[in-house]
Amino acid sequence: MIESLPLPIDAAWLLAVVQTLLFVFVAPLLSGWIKRIKCHMQNRAAPSVFQPYRDLAKLLRKHTVLAENASWLFRFTPYLVFAATILAAAVVPLIALQLPTAQIADVIVLVGFLALARFFLALAGLDIGTAFGGMGASREMMIGALAEPVLMMTAFTVSMSAATTNLSEAMGYTLSSGLVLRPSFLFAALGLMLVAVAETGRVPVDNPATHLELTMVHEAMILEYTGRHLALIEWASKIKLMVYLVLIANLFLPWGIATELTLAELGKGTVAIAGKLILLGMALVVWETVMAKMRIFRVPPYLGFAFLLSLLGMLTHVVLETGG
């Protein structure tokens, strides 16, 4: 779009901010939707899709209880995690391509933002000095360390095809090259899905709904958080889930996303992404229902498999698609 990258003041920037806000405020709804479908699927009484908003509002109102030896880092972490996750959301095109925020950071920086949030969460887990926090931090960093190369390989496969790491440009490339089946993209998408499940703490890697001592990963790390701090962290993890789902939806199936900044196109983009997220949410629910939670040391082979898939994706790209 903009070859010379002007200073950030114009309508596109405004739209980018609006899109980010939409992203942030819709994320709880997506979680509510997933929870509702999951309850239906498992024959349980389902809460309203708006329940996550009520939970967040309640947490924001509640008193905050800090553990007695919590340092400033523990209080600072929720804000930083929230900010880093919002930044990650800001660079992922949701309803429209060619928004200037995608230029602030590319897909590698996006991975960096998520790593930054994870770094601080793990530190906060260690801050209190209980065994739970340490256990959660250690396991989360282990999973993160194994998931990150998969994420990178996926990103590399896509960006080597599209010759760009800019997410907006990469989606534009997929869009313009038409509906062709690329084996490399297929493998990359599968790898990304497996990593998304691991990174957002879903079954079978982790279970967001449990507080059983020995199986917690993410929940163990944030066990000591209460009130508004907990609200921010919970919200951030909902945004993170949505970031991954939007990434899968728009990177591999970008059709419907707005390519021009007109009202009709934007409307179409909104409907398209809503439909894709509803479907992806349902797919996630089916996956979570048919899988059983794994033992922690089953996770490395699982992520190893994801790495293999993304490696295959990269190799098929090199061997089949570039004619070398």
Binding site: E68, F113, F119, L123
Partner: protein, 675 residues
């Protein structure tokens, strides 16, 4: 005034500092003020001289009336040596702020040591590093190189009352000399073809590809060994941690960089005409070095040893970037090759800053808590709040997280690697993304490692009495750490401006500046073009701080009261410090997953109740993760050398008659050869 005047100030300052420290044992104040004061002046002058040439772009040269009669010492300060001179100078300046308080450790008690040795060899070590980067002929280069190696040997052996330190120092000296021989032979090849020892003549040498490759292999071996490349790294984690902390900071922060300077000077400048196969070797070695370095770092519990292994990882990143650069230069993709070189240089600067900072922080902990073992630390963020803040910045930077300096160079390296589809060879197109994935894995493991360092040392609760009573360190030590921490931030958020300045180096070496990288102004970093990839560190920082501050303000305006309570302990009562996760526990999952990498020695002793054997009274768990390179590489070589020595030793009969006949037959043989 010219940059050369500042160079002389730097050199004379270091030399004077060496001379004045002779009085240090009688008057400790001499060391604290005169020695470190002169070093501060010398460091500042080195920074000025280096930056002047780097920004001004005009190389300056001089001859010193020293050396051999037919070969005076040539000095030359160009953009490349300017950068390294500035990096060395920055760290020298930082340690001269840090040293006066830190060296008080060695005045009293059981740590009492000769201050003359410390002051003298610190200054000579620094002088050696200055001269290596300034040398313009192989003769001066080798003398300076040896000065650097030998002076640092005495610093490694400084606390020589421990046998382990003496052993480490000997190993260091041995490896430094094996490396030195390789470098000397490498220069020999170039001098043989160029007809002289000055770099000028070596540049002009016409080498066949075979000879150039031999020269490259020798230089890569020699400089790589000194830089700590796997599998030639074994000396590094032994030697770096046992020196005093400010010396460790210099050794890890800049001495490794001086070795990399040698490599860059040798390959990019003196040989000049590079082959992509060299790049492939370097890339693969670099990627393996990165991964093994970080895995070894992850399982260490001694803070300084962990940092030393992490230096190996970072050298691996730099070698990978240099390897990518060589591959692209060798295949004719000049612009991408230049970007690879820039990524390497950026990581060199970044690593000097954050590794210097982390070693100084480790020294600060040792100074006030007398502790190196992570498993005895904890809760230092409350006892040493400022040191904790600086260390946090250092840990974030080394973990390669945006928007700090470690991230910029890693991002650039990935961007270069992603240009692989432009290459002809399918093997390269496959291998490069694969090594990039290894780098990604290493970056993630590095983040885990530094969560361990920071989380175990500074957070939680103190695990030992000394740590519980630790005090914040003095102003000078804090100032040194603050200086480097600010560097980590500035180099993280202004990449375009800095790359603009660094551009002078590839322009001089390769004849091409990274124009596209900074084409969109200071706000944007666009390695290839705005469409391919862009990163705006300033905007990222503004957005991060802005959103966090906004959230804080919104939630704090109508904030409900905050109250302190007990952490959750499952209802069993008081949580004590022994219940915390330890450093060993933290790295246990990684241990299990990557078990084949180490030589693991695990021992569990259970003591059971004599009457009721099912009741365990105490458990002792010992875990040692040994460096596998010892058992697979060094020990066999050591045995081979000893066996060879024994064979040769058979000549030694102890009787003068035999020796005389040896001389006689040698003489005969030589006469026969001559005629």
């Amino acid at each position: 005034m010219s940059p050369l005047d500042f160079v002389y100030i730097a050199l004379i300052g270091a030399l004077a500092s060496a001379l004045v420290s002779v009085g240090a044992d009688r008057q400790p104040a001499v060391l604290r003020y005169a020695n470190f004061g002169l070093l501060a002046i010398s460091g500042a002058a080195a920074v000025v001289a280096g930056l002047w040439v780097l920004i001004g772009e005009a190389p300056v040269a001089a001859q010193l009336p020293l050396g051999l009669p037919w070969l005076p010492w040539h000095l030359r300060l160009d953009a490349l040596s300017g950068l390294f001179l500035a990096v060395v100078g920055t760290l020298v300046f930082a340690i001269s702020l840090y040293g006066p308080a830190y060296t008080r450790n060695y005045l009293h008690g059981k740590n009492r040591q000769s201050l003359i040795v410390l002051g003298l060899f610190t200054a000579l070590f620094i002088l050696g590093m200055y001269l290596v980067v300034l040398a313009d002929d192989a003769f001066l280069f080798m003398i300076a190189w040896e000065l650097m190696s030998v002076a640092s040997y005495f610093l490694v052996a400084y606390q020589h009352q421990h046998a382990a330190n003496r052993r480490a120092a000997f190993l260091y000296l041995l490896m430094a000399h094996v490396a030195g021989v390789a470098i000397l032979l490498g220069f020999g090849v170039l001098a043989g073809f160029g007809g002289g020892f000055t770099f000028e003549k070596m540049r002009a040498a016409e080498l066949s590809t075979t000879w150039a490759s031999i020269a490259f292999a020798l230089a890569f071996f020699g400089f790589g060994m000194k830089a700590g490349m796997v599998p030639l790294h074994a000396w590094l984690p032994e030697a770096h941690p046992v020196a005093p902390s400010h010396i460790s900071a210099l050794m890890s922060g800049v001495m490794l960089k001086v070795a990399l300077y040698g490599l860059i000077r040798f390959v990019f400048d003196l040989i000049g005409d590079v082959q992509w196969q060299w790049g492939l070797v370097m890339l693969v070695t670099g990627a393996c070095t990165t991964l093994l370095g970080v895995l070894y770092a992850m399982v260490r519990n001694n803070l300084k040893r962990l940092l030393a292994y992490s230096s190996i990882e970072n050298v691996g990143i730099i070698l990978s970037a240099l390897g990518l650069s060589l591959i692209f230069l060798g295949t004719g993709h000049k612009i991408i090759g230049v970007l690879g070189l820039i990524a390497a240089l950026y990581h060199i600067i970044g690593h000097a800053l954050f590794k210097g900072l982390l070693f100084l922080g480790a020294g600060a902990i040792a100074h006030s808590a007398h502790e190196y073992d992570l498993n005895n630390m904890g809760g230092l963020i409350r006892r040493m709040p400022q040191t904790a803040l600086f260390m946090l910045i250092g840990c974030l930077a080394i973990a390669g997280l945006p928007p700090l300096t470690g991230f910029v160079s890693e991002w650039l390296t990935f961007q270069v690697a992603l240009q692989a589809p432009r290459l002809e060879s399918g093997v390269l197109r496959t291998l490069i993304p694969l090594t990039a994935a290894m780098l990604a894995l290493s970056a993630a493991l590095a983040a885990a490692t530094f969560v361990k360092v920071y989380g175990i040392a500074f957070l939680g609760r103190a695990r030992s009495r000394q740590v519980r009573h630790a005090r914040e360190v003095g102003l000078g030590m804090r100032a040194a750490m603050a200086l480097l921490a600010i560097g980590c931030i500035v180099f993280g958020i202004l990449p375009s401006t800095i790359i603009d300045v660094l551009g002078a180096i590839p322009k001089q070496l390769i004849g091409q500046a990274p124009v596209s990288a900074t084409a969109s102004g200071w706000l944007w970093l666009t390695p290839m073009s705005a469409k391919t990839a862009s990163y705006s560190a300033p905007l990222v920082l503004i957005a991060l701080v802005g959103i966090a501050a906004l959230g804080f303000a919104l939630l704090h305006v109508r904030a409900t009261r905050m109250r302190r309570g007990y952490p959750w302990e499952c209802g069993y009562g008081e949580v004590n410090t022994r219940m915390q996760y330890t450093a060993t526990a933290f790295s246990q999952p990684i241990h299990r997953i990557f078990a084949p990498v180490w030589d693991l020695r695990e021992q569990i002793d259970e003591k059971r109740h004599p009457a009721q054997p099912q009741q365990v009274q105490s458990i002792r768990h010992q875990l040692q993760a040994l460096d596998k390179s010892w058992s697979t590489l060094y020990e066999p070589i050591g045995r081979l050398v000893l066996a060879g020595a024994r064979r040769i030793g058979m000549l030694q009969t102890g009787s003068i008659h035999t020796y005389l006949s040896y001389s006689f037959f040698t003489l005969l043989l030589l006469l026969w050869v001559v005629t």
